[in-house]
Symmetry: D3
Subunit: 130 residues, 6 copies
């Protein structure tokens, strides 16, 4: 059932995060297949697939929210990676995370910058940015 | 002291939210003048004034974070207003807030949409969006 | 599209909260029709409709979570109402909320009890419970 | 049972917040007598009655925590009142709340200052502080 | 003092989580004996020992709340273990945690499922559930 | 620019946490120099440098807030260390963290006590306190 949403979600996830994102969901599916399906269908098939907001803006908003919430470090790393994948510039990501110091406090921003540093190291982006 | 940062912050706040934002800070200054100064100097003079991220993106990120945090309804309304002021389209704001259902849950998104509805009513934007 | 999930969600919501729940969603749909659809489709059509956990247990878990999160008073009231509707006893709801003092602190429990008191007054349940 | 803890808790609450605190608990007891008893026994009879930290410091810590958590405005107002009652100076309370901007963000601090302003108005403390 | 509550709490904790729970508290008592006593006396001696809600329901509510709060992974694992110990079925726990995606977002649910997977592996429950 | 605030912040940080605090900020500056500067300028140069509240009280308030927020363990450890450095007694820190069980729940307090235990072990303070 709901094959269409699932397919659309898988395409969106690939567009958003490339093979890395699909691997996360496939790994989840080994233990919790229904929940992996909801991630694809709802998050990516319903929401990310909507018109009205660009993927770059969607990823900046997600990085902002996950950094502010502060209890989702693995997901924050995934979305820092995804944000780069959809074309956000490294400097934009550093700016969004630094800005979270205003709204969620300096510890949230510091822990967000730690996630940024980890992902940047993986993909070969040098810090400090020039 | 720090006249330069204060002036830059006041200019940025005016750019971001027009007279409405300045009024919020002036009102705060009547009771807590030092804190009103920090809001201008740090939030707007230091952070918003930075290059590397557009004001539209900054406001989308802020709306996302405040909606996700869920304990800052007055500030969320201010920034929905500011987001419109710097050129975010109504549909973009609705999209960002709906997207928060993924990261912070449906109640956070629902309370965010209530803030959106309130601000849209004040500025004469009809819902549902066409 | 997704008519089946929508219909199943509407039936589940009616089972969970009676006309009151449908009214909340219909009201939401006037301003944000897509999001109202997601609430029905995902929350009720996908999750609440699943086997493996009874509706009483689902509502107790939801009341616990909303009380603990502490930033979703309107939704907490809706689910205290729904919990009674699916057969939770008033005393069970008071117990769940009091228990949240352990996990989320006394203020969260106190604000949860305020929501309980409000809903109990609406439906005519006397406090203190005998 | 546990008469000793209850009595000690009632004495501590009176010491911490005077008649205002006892009134809050008596009001709670009308609807939720067991929970009102736990508030007195555990919060005040067990924790506040301990040696090793002064009441001024306990109240400053509580105001800090409630401001940072941001989902407990009624309790924050009670403890701003209590902090004044145990001898915290108005300026100390304003300082603690402003400091929360660092750890929990500016919205948390702004909402905390709103609680401070409300309580100060009730007890006749003029803002801005001289 | 308060021997009765302490004894009742120790019996309840043993009923709720078996030797594993007592070991956690004994370990805590080596560094913080008073706080270990409060955990037994208040959490288990006062709250869990109350009538009006079954232990299965209490544990489902606790798993829901800890998953939603998202900042208490060690305690969440303890209570997933305890929930199995008092007779919750594995599928019920997976359902409760998946349901938290609605109220606290997908990252909270994903991190909750990671805790479930860890505990299930320890006690020999195979995933995916048949 | 803003040399005066930076210098004052560096002096305050040294007063608050000694070489350990400066090392944290210097480490941050290697990857995110601007943000390291804001930490010094705003947190320490603006806020901690203010009159009206003693450093001991500032650190107790910070430990309370970080423990209650529960998503900032690295920063909590830094401030437990700093609190000892400015003269808070070990027992005062244990009391503040235990008190957070009332306002943020037992898991927050337990995770806070784990941070306390870690820092106490590093600096050679024996637990349980005599």
């Amino acid at each position: 059932m709901s094959t269409e949403r699932y397919e659309r979600g898988a395409r969106m996830l690939a567009a958003v995060d490339g093979p890395a994102g699909l691997e996360v969901v496939e790994n989840l599916a080994k233990s919790f297949p229904d929940f992996a399906r909801y991630v694809l269908e709802f998050s990516f098939g319903d929401i990310y697939a909507r018109e009205g907001l660009g993927l770059r803006e969607r990823e900046l908003a997600t990085v902002a929210a996950l950094c502010a919430l502060g209890n989702a470090q693995p997901q924050l790393r995934v979305h820092v990676h995804a944000a780069l994948h959809v074309g956000c510039k490294p400097a934009e990501l550093v700016e969004v995370v630094m800005q979270m110091s205003i709204y969620a406090g300096f510890p949230a921003a510091l822990n967000g910058l730690a996630a940024v540093r980890e992902v940047f190291a993986e993909v070969g982006i040098q810090l400090p940015l020039a």
